[in-house]
Symmetry: D3
Subunit: 322 residues, 6 copies
């Protein structure tokens, strides 16, 4: 049972639109704060889009996601889970990137997550573009490769971009497999669609053993069936969850840089996150929310709603272990 320090501010005390916006109205506990040792799940902003090769903007994601997250109340409407009563959660602030250097940013991020991991905190990250997942995995999978359930319209498995560039938001999981951070046989990618340059990413997936569920299959089988397979693939071992908001159809999530039409609706977007229950999650992220392309905040609100579903499963999982 978490102590009251970690309870989010109630909307019946201070209206939900009021107050300095932290993630889900949780206390802000940075890594130097003494209370950090009591945190079990840390929500972290990664305001960085240095890997973006198309429309930019996810660097502004954490700010807008925090803003909209104050609309999230304490209890899951569908499952009844009250995560903040299960485990101590906190907003750990933003990991500071270097907007003028990809390399330095990658280093800064891994250094930050190393401290998070060392403190025994499970990270839930709000991106940022998808390249952010790489330095996070470098910290989380330091001691051996992990599995991954990956929601996206793109595989992000390309070898390189634009004449050999290794680090973009289209390549993180190719790097992660190469670096031994991900066990490709325990990786499933769901929702893949859109036009393609070529098959280089899919051929890599096939040869490495990554399971790709294209959107046609997703729509034909439905979320329950696909997620049952996903849980099977990752099994009981450690698993990372990476959720690119462009997994969802752009009518529901317009605020992203590389939208692809024909995706799941918002109910399915929540459903797949809810169906992560039982997965041995060691960390998760929600990436590619690009506020300049949705000043209304609708995309960010869907994003934090998905984050809350993931958080509930993470909290259940943490609570089980203790």
């Amino acid at each position: 049972m978490p102590d009251s320090f970690f309870h989010p501010v109630s909307g019946f005390e201070l209206p939900r639109f009021a107050g300095v916006p932290t993630f889900m109205r949780l206390p802000l506990v940075d890594l130097d704060n003494p209370r950090i040792r009591d945190v079990r799940i840390g929500i972290i902003g990664a305001p960085w889009d240095g890997g973006t090769t198309n429309r930019p903007g996810p660097r502004h994601g954490p700010r807008q996601l925090r803003d909209l997250s104050t609309m999230i109340r304490a209890q899951n409407g569908a499952t009844g889970v009250r995560p903040f009563e299960l485990v101590n959660c906190a907003d750990l602030g933003d990991v500071g990137p270097n907007p003028a250097s990809v390399d330095d940013s990658l280093k800064r991020m891994t250094a930050f997550y190393d401290r998070v991991v060392a403190a025994g905190i499970m990270p839930l990250t709000a991106g940022g573009d998808h390249l952010c997942s790489l330095p996070i995995l470098r910290s989380l999978a330091k001691d051996g490769s992990v599995g991954m359930i990956h929601f996206d319209s793109h595989t992000d498995l390309y070898k390189s971009y634009f004449g050999g560039m290794q680090y973009t938001h289209g390549t993180p999981f190719r790097r992660a497999v190469e670096e031994g951070l991900l066990d490709p046989k325990r990786v499933i990618q769901i929702g893949i669609r859109g036009t393609a340059y070529d098959n280089e990413d899919r051929e890599f997936a096939d040869s490495a053993g990554v399971r790709v569920v294209p959107i046609e299959e997703f729509h034909a089988r439905g979320p329950e069936d696909v997620m049952a397979e996903a849980r099977d693939i990752v099994g009981e071992r450690e698993t990372y969850v990476s959720y690119d908001i462009d997994f969802v159809d752009p009518a529901f999530a317009p605020g992203t840089g590389t939208p692809e039409v024909g995706g799941p609706n918002s109910f399915q977007a929540l459903q797949v996150a809810r169906l992560l229950d039982g997965v041995n999650i060691i960390g998760a992220d929600l990436v590619e929310v690009s506020p300049p392309f949705d000043p209304s905040g609708a995309t960010a609100f869907l994003g934090v709603s998905v984050m809350f579903e993931m958080l509930c499963n993470m909290a259940l999982s943490v609570a089980d272990r203790h």
Copy 2:
């Protein structure tokens, strides 16, 4: 057969974007107009959001709904019903609230609807926030409790808000049950979802006998099945219909103050209103359209499309009786 005075202006005479916008291009007949005695269904604007505790704006709803309503033509595309030929319909103008006083506004509204009821007119109201339903019910259910089919993502059954506040858009139906305006056993709430503060509303619903259909059940069963149950629950007796636009998924209806993701799509939004056929409707409302959050008018257009479906069923029901 209504007289031609009550026919809406045709788009083949005056383009639909032209002219002073009244609801569905009907004549404006205020309560002091002698023709009021010939009106059977009155569409009324309730430009009031004094009960709104989160993002404001529904006070601007009637203006935008009227604007978009001129795009509605005379015949239902799905059912072929031509309501304006079945029964005299008119725009009764706006009920004037007091923007600086909740109490005075509630009184003004009930006084207005008392006159509407006394004139034998069935009201179809365009809100305004959901607190508007309370003064309407006070007029309509003066002589005994009625049933209600309620589309929403929230139950609006909370006891109070923010330290005992009794009258907000989160409490109208708790008040209506307490005041004997609603028979809780003849009330069904459809589409409930989103995070929650606690279970206080749901526990009240359970104990009072209000049937709550959460969105998960709605998606699993489908509109036809759920609406069959709804018709069963309200039976043949008098029934009010209250339709909060946030019932619909925010991708289809972004212009509202407290959106919750994961809702029905626009086809289902129309379908449930169409499936009210046979219900003994005594009045209906469409509330919580907040134009500042959707200047495009898309939400309002969906709103008036739903209003037209409800109107068709109201007209059939009125015509049957005469």
Copy 3:
């Protein structure tokens, strides 16, 4: 196998947001260009909305569609088709309308398409409003009536508008049937919905033998079944495909002048175009994208995604014949 002159610019050479935007980054080959004789499929802009009687704007459609089309890559994600390797495709530029004269514009358009047809080029047109389809059909069906698969929320079969006006975006297919350009028994209209003035269009459809699939039927049967019937109706003979973006639900395609709620989602929007495979397509259009009502470009991006699906089927069909 097309020569490299007709390959689109790759996003790995020049970022997709860069460069002068031609349709799908193809070479711009106007009718006076010597390379025109090597073109098999020509994408043409028709920046004209002289037939629009409600909210205007499709004159700006081609500009925005070209802009967004540079996001389309070379390969169909679902089918693997690479159209630009099957057949020489080019952007033929815009057909120039006279914005101050409906009659002159109709003449200019037919003159342009006569040259396209004479050059043996199959046209894929980006509108413009739906009246654009009429002059195109006048060129394509010069030697005998053709069939048509028509996606729309309106039949566009009205006799006239506003006191006898023959040429508006609500009448093109009535004219086309009257002029013998369309064989009504080989015409199917899919997705029809929304309120109606009267039944005049539907009665004409019934008497002439045009098959109308209302949206209720579409949702009940699903895209595969409806498209199987469509392929049956048009058979193996020459068929035109006309796709009004307002076929799709306005949440997915808000940028259009006469939206009707309750339509298909974006996955179904692509699916129906994909299910045109095997149809003997002689030309196609995507019309009624109105950028002023969607500056974000989301509607245009869906529009070009649909165009790409149609193009893939056109390319397969052309490749088959050679």
Copy 4:
């Protein structure tokens, strides 16, 4: 002193955002209404943009201008004039155009204004595009040419457009001079700017005696000096005032089809209208507000603020005569 029937609804009785929006909350008195004989100034909507050759939309102007006009209160803040107490004003509704025919629309408009003039009512028109001014002048100047003070960034004096088209929003005043409706020596055009095709319009102005004040001169001399000259040029005889909202800089009035940067600010926009005092105004218009390019309504609010300034001067002028 006008009778109370003609008093606008007060914001202290019904909030200004409430109620069916008529111009400045005046009574709606159409030409068939018996009270029409008591009206001295009639505000009229002209929802027509059939003359627009660039970005369309002014057909939607009257609707948005009425909406925003309910924010106008009864008294001029700068001059203290209370026009509605000086003279009976009313909203005469919209003149119905034929959206599919330029010629028919011109006829319908002149027929409407002939009735207005016959009823002794001074018209203040809310456009619509600038071609609307021509049919109005045909009614107002039936018995002899009038003078004109014209605010605009374009002269609208071109001979024809696009191969001989006589009737577009770039040609109305050329026609009006040719038809003897305007006395070119009593015409002044203020604010002219932007790039030009050629000097054809300016050469006509020079040869006919129309005074053109380019924006550079306006900024150098200031509104007072320029307006003194304007009053001089038109003298004491009958004068029409035509105000194109694109006279104002697009930062203040973005909602228009052919903006030109470098214009007056909003204070100057009001000032020039205020400085019409003493001019013998026989009618005025405010045209080219295009709501699709400014859904926020800011342009329309500036537009109605300018209309109110003109109305005050019109009311003073009417009151003086009686």
Copy 5:
């Protein structure tokens, strides 16, 4: 010289778009924080618009103002003042209103500001609507009336609204004069404009001795001259500064509920705040920023730029005294 605890986060350490947004990146020090005793200037959010009678939204102001305030750097570009090095500044968080009760909100606010005043902290408030100024003045002027420099397009001096309502955003300074909080002879209101219901407010101003500078006078004399008079009027005694963002022209500040065209530009908006130097400021506010009417944040950015100018003068004034 303030200690480093109170230095804002530098954009060279953490990019300005990153991090949890506090006002000007200052530390968040709530009233229960032990460091509160070292704060000299406290920036406070007042997320309340319970007094708004027209378009609502300022309750969302503090959130957006904080967001944009992270773009403010440490040094005044015009004057070179570095306020955070002169005096300890902090973000004191939001004063919590009761969104369902005007009376309770007024009490909560005064209670909060009483504590601020007791702690010897000079408040700079980000509203909220203009009624917020009343409870602040009740705390600040507890011991005797103060002077006020008031920038606005409205006097906010009305006696009541809508049938006797005493507390709205149109009445705060009438109340403040009646309650002896303001010395009317030391009050100047600058920028007044727009249409008016009547002269009731101006007559009160005249009789009480409040100096009103209408916008015409402001534009004629210029900011320097007007501000010299303002400094004269308030003299050396204690003075409150109240800055309604609708003082500025809506082209520069569209995000407000009751805009009036014809106002100052953004340079003048800064200039008048800069020309407060030497005034004995005891507190200031910036009110009526309404984010729903400007999601872009441009209004809020102008608002925080004005706040920074006021803060510099407040810091100079505090530093002088110590």
Copy 6:
């Protein structure tokens, strides 16, 4: 006299909203096109924002600037200059950046401009962010330092950013001075304003001899006087003109990443470019237009209007020499 190949498409032949958008409707002549040898002024897009440390987006600038540039007609309204008749102008397409590498992009750009310079073409560049000016200067000033007239709200003279980063949009002119590309004594920066981190840039300017005109001075002296000084400072020798759109007030140019309030209006924005007449211009740029922050295109339209003013002066200057 240029040959007709280089005449822009007239709006009387093809409406200005139609056609594939090249800069000012000029022919697209890439560097490999044989006609390149006849081009004297080349307009070039630089779709790159790799130096942006705050809000991103200028990579999308050239696309939107081209789109809006088709609204520019052939003749300068103020000066009568017809640049396309003075000298052969063409759109040279976009210089291709590498969105994943700052270093590679700088190299690609210089390589491109080296070819432009070698071909004897004077470049007018549409950015892109301000770092783009550096590789351009590396090509243009290869043989010796040049002067510069620089319009901006920032000096862009910082030594480095964020821990030593040398190449960002805040440092290009520091680099250019260090590399001997700019003669600091012949550099003037006009419009500088906004808050600052420190004085490091200004101290460098002072010590190097760069003349900085802060916005206060600009407003006090006016454009004519300041530009007279600018012409004096650069004298008759070769001069580059760099125009950051954030020089203009954000009400007129909201679409930029680092706006600063209090700037010039749009008339002054044009005026300063017009007052470049007589300057020995060797190249010019217009940078920092960021379309995601202004989808309306208003900023881009102002941008291309400024570009046209610069182009007119460049054309006069080229014509003079031949």
